[in-house]
């Protein structure tokens, strides 16, 4: 059997590893397609042939649900993530206001469009730092690009997911945004309408089980489902 | 076959308005640079859409602005030797030559014959870029001939060629004119070519036809000297009487013997010779002891004095009209007036090969 999975690009490393394990355990062949959540969601609404969608963005999942494109009751919040402030390797940690104050530039994903950017803007606003930060913010088209800017040293500070920070050896986490400063970061997953198969359900379930959870935890995600 | 052309066309600073007929044979369009010759030929070929007019060949309408008929060029079955060779740069000379033959119906014209006549055998594998000016023009001639057209348009085809080459190619046009029965529209500035090839001459000036008629008429009319004064001359018809051993051919022109260098025609054939007015000497008495072999007795028919020092004397001889261009001083000295009898002295060799044509 085969399953096609559309997943947010930020899940690539972790999900690839999990899929590898699953494929050795079962006879199911997994086809993983990574892209920005928005592109994937739009494609699903145009009939993309996928069984499962794992989004990095609640908004797009809500949109699909409203259009009736999800198999009811299969939607679950699979993973959580944290939002961090990063700097090139070797910088020391500090408190957010000082860091933001002193930074010459802050790399973020698009603050009005891409989830990581939206979370970041919310958090900085909540901390009353947005006014200070806004003129310094350089917005990349996705969170990985923002990460790259910091890794290359082009930006001395960046707002990214905890998982990204962990995966990039050339950056270091200099501060953690308090969870209350932004809405919870969730990765919802669901089966797609018309693709309600045994295999799909089984894989979705497996993702919530320990074997998978260990892998996601290792990459910095917070598994949200308790089995 | 007769080609009928009636055209009106307005270009910036130039108005074409012509109406003429080109009967079977070769019609020379004669006129100064810019007088509209190429424009007319383009219209006949269908490369230019005249503002108004009608062009037909023996009733087959090629173009008629009132009926809205306009046959595309490729269906007019013509061969066009352009003023600039227009060879296809991406094809070899050989491929250029055969281009039109592919579309020809009958394919009687053989490549080797044409290649030989034009002396382009060594060039067949070359591209046009590697040819000299005259070589290009020769290939263009060959290409048009090999297309087996039903009508030939030639725009100064020999202008870039040396005399010797012209002498080789001219008989071919003659054969086309006489054997293939194609109407040929031919543009040239060379009086010798007009004289030798033309059946009909259409004289153009500023986009208008100022004179048209049979070559013999137009060329022997001293009031029209299309080729400039130097081109005036008369045409005589004569029958080949004998080919002598010393290389001369004797002609009989209404009882008068004319000698000229051996011509290819057989005994009994009627041929046309041209006697240029500038090469005739007049004598009241029959002159003796001259190197000139041809002496024609006649009566002065008219004397036209031009603006310059010269006059054209028109002489009626048993063989036909002869024109002589002499100075007014000579005319006076000889006491030439209308009705007086007189002899025309013509050197044999001044009836040159170019001036001999088949009637």
């Amino acid at each position: 059997a085969e399953l096609t999975i559309f997943a947010a690009a930020s899940l690539k490393t972790a999900l690839d590893e999990a899929a590898e394990v699953y494929q050795t355990e079962t006879a199911v062949n997994l086809r993983l397609s990574y892209a920005g959540s928005s592109a994937l969601a739009r494609q699903i609404s145009f009939g993309a042939p996928t069984d499962i969608f794992i989004s990095a963005n609640i908004g797009w999942m809500d949109h699909l649900e409203a259009e009736g494109l999800l198999v009811p009751d299969t939607r679950t919040d699979l993973l959580g993530n944290s939002l961090v402030l990063i700097a090139p390797k070797g910088q020391t940690a500090g408190d957010i206001p000082t860091l933001v104050q002193n930074a010459e530039r802050i790399a973020m994903a698009l603050v009005d469009a891409v989830p990581a950017g939206i979370y970041g803007k919310t958090a900085l606003t909540d901390l009353n730092l947005w006014e200070t930060a806004a003129p310094k913010v350089v917005q990349a088209d996705n969170v990985r690009a923002a990460l790259a800017l910091v890794a290359l040293g082009e930006a001395p500070l960046g707002v990214v997911y905890g998982t990204d920070a962990l995966a990039e050896p050339k950056v270091t986490i200099v501060a953690q945004f308090p969870p209350h400063s932004h809405t919870a970061i969730r990765y919802p997953a669901a089966l797609i309408d018309g693709r309600d198969t045994q295999e799909g359900r089984a894989f979705l379930t497996w993702l919530g089980q320990d074997a998978a959870k260990d892998i996601f935890s290792k990459h910095g995600f917070t598994p949200l489902r308790d089995e | 076959m007769t080609l009928q052309v009636r055209l009106k066309h307005q270009l910036r600073g130039f108005a074409l308005d012509v109406d003429f007929e080109a009967p079977q044979g070769l019609t020379v369009l004669f006129g100064r640079s810019g007088s509209g010759k190429t424009t007319i030929i383009n219209a006949v070929a269908g490369l230019m859409q005249p503002d108004a007019g009608r062009i037909s060949v023996d009733g087959r309408v090629l173009c008629d602005s009132t009926q809205g008929v306009r046959l595309p060029p490729h269906r007019r079955r013509l061969g066009y030797i352009f003023q600039e060779a227009r060879l296809f740069p991406h094809l070899t000379v050989g491929q250029n030559l055969l281009y039109g033959q592919f579309f020809a119906l009958k394919k009687r014209t053989r490549l080797p014959d044409v290649v030989d006549m034009l002396g382009i055998g060594a060039l067949l594998d070359r591209r046009p870029g590697a040819l000299s000016g005259g070589e290009k023009q020769r290939v263009a001639i060959g290409r048009a001939l090999l297309a087996e057209p039903e009508m030939l348009l030639a725009d100064e085809p020999l202008a870039a060629l040396d005399e010797a080459r012209k002498t080789e190619i001219l008989p071919y046009f003659e054969r086309l004119r006489d054997e293939a029965k194609l109407p040929i529209l031919y543009v040239t500035h060379a009086p010798a070519e007009v004289a030798r090839l033309a059946t009909t001459v259409v004289v153009l000036q500023n986009g208008r036809v100022v004179r048209q008629g049979s070559a013999a008429d137009v060329l022997s009319d001293p009031s029209v000297t299309p080729a400039g004064v130097r081109g005036a001359g008369a045409m005589l018809e004569a029958v080949v009487k004998a080919h002598h051993e010393d290389g001369l051919t004797e002609l009989n022109a209404a009882g008068i013997a004319l000698f000229l260098p051996r011509v290819p025609q057989g005994i009994g054939d009627t041929i046309r010779v041209r006697i240029a007015a500038s090469e005739v000497i007049l004598s009241r008495d029959r002159p003796e002891g001259l190197s000139a072999l041809n002496i024609l007795p006649g009566t002065v028919e008219a004397i036209r004095a031009g603006g310059g020092p010269g006059a054209i004397v028109s002489l009626r001889t048993p063989a036909g009209r002869i024109l002589a261009r002499v100075t007014r001083r000579s005319a006076q000295r000889l006491g030439l007036t209308q009705g007086i009898s007189c002899h025309a002295v013509v050197k044999t060799v001044s009836i040159a090969p170019q001036d001999v044509g088949r009637a």
């Binding site: 086809r31 609404s45 | 490729h74 007019r76 991406h90 348009l153």
Partner: protein, 229 residues
């Protein structure tokens, strides 16, 4: 050699080649027709056609991809109509070729159009007087003379098709073995921190293939040019 790339990467290389070749081949006749029409014909709406041809160049590729989804998606009228005929573009490699072809189209048409405009109509006239119909004139005179332009246009198109990403990933997604082209694979690697190395390998493959095509075309163009002058 083979283990230099993973099987999945090989798949991407093969797919990109297939997509680029098909995109180029399919665009060729239409591109030639369009170029010819724009260069030679007068017709109402000519400037609109001209504009439409250039559209993919002006629009951000994502928008083009989105418009393609709107038009050829399985839910779209045209897409579902075509699907009934068995022609499916969305989320197939054929869709990738369609997207690449459309993105490459303006480049191809412009190059061809320039060449057509450079052909001396006097040569075409000469061919016509020799008995060649319009079609024959085109095939035996115009076409050989514009070959350099066709080649140039095709190479641009091929290169563009090899590199096309935005419209492709938006229209057909990034499904390994089905629609994951080289640029999509490169993109995926760039999404992974530390994936630059892998991305670089694929970039090199991509550049190598396109350069090969380029050199081949230059060589062909030189041969053609030698023939023509």
């Amino acid at each position: 050699m083979t283990d230099w790339l993973t099987p999945q990467e090989w798949q991407a290389v093969a797919l990109s080649l297939r997509v680029a070749v098909w995109a180029t081949l399919a665009a060729l006749p239409l591109g030639l027709l369009t170029a010819f029409a724009l260069a030679r014909w007068q017709f109402p709406g000519k400037q609109i056609v001209n504009g439409l041809v250039h559209l993919p160049l002006i629009l951000p590729p994502v928008v083009t991809g989105y418009l393609l989804l709107l038009t050829f998606g399985t839910r779209a009228p045209l897409g579902s109509f075509l699907a009934e005929l068995g022609i499916v573009f969305a989320f197939r490699w054929t869709g990738a070729a369609l997207a690449a072809g459309i993105m490459a189209f303006p480049l191809m048409v412009r190059a061809m159009r320039l060449s057509i405009e450079a052909v001396d109509p006097k040569l075409e006239q000469a061919a016509a007087t020799l008995g060649a119909s319009r079609t024959w004139v085109f095939a035996t005179v115009t076409l050989p003379l514009i070959l350099p332009g066709i080649l140039a246009g095709s190479v641009l198109a091929f290169a563009k098709a090899m590199g096309e990403f935005g419209a492709t990933i938006t229209f057909v997604s990034n499904i390994p073995g089905q629609t994951q082209t080289l640029p999509s694979a490169i993109y995926a690697f760039l999404q992974v921190p530390g994936g630059e190395g892998s991305a670089l390998r694929l970039v090199l493959v991509s550049v190598g293939v396109a350069m090969g095509a380029l050199l081949l075309s230059e060589w062909l163009a030189r041969r053609v040019a030698r023939r023509v002058s």
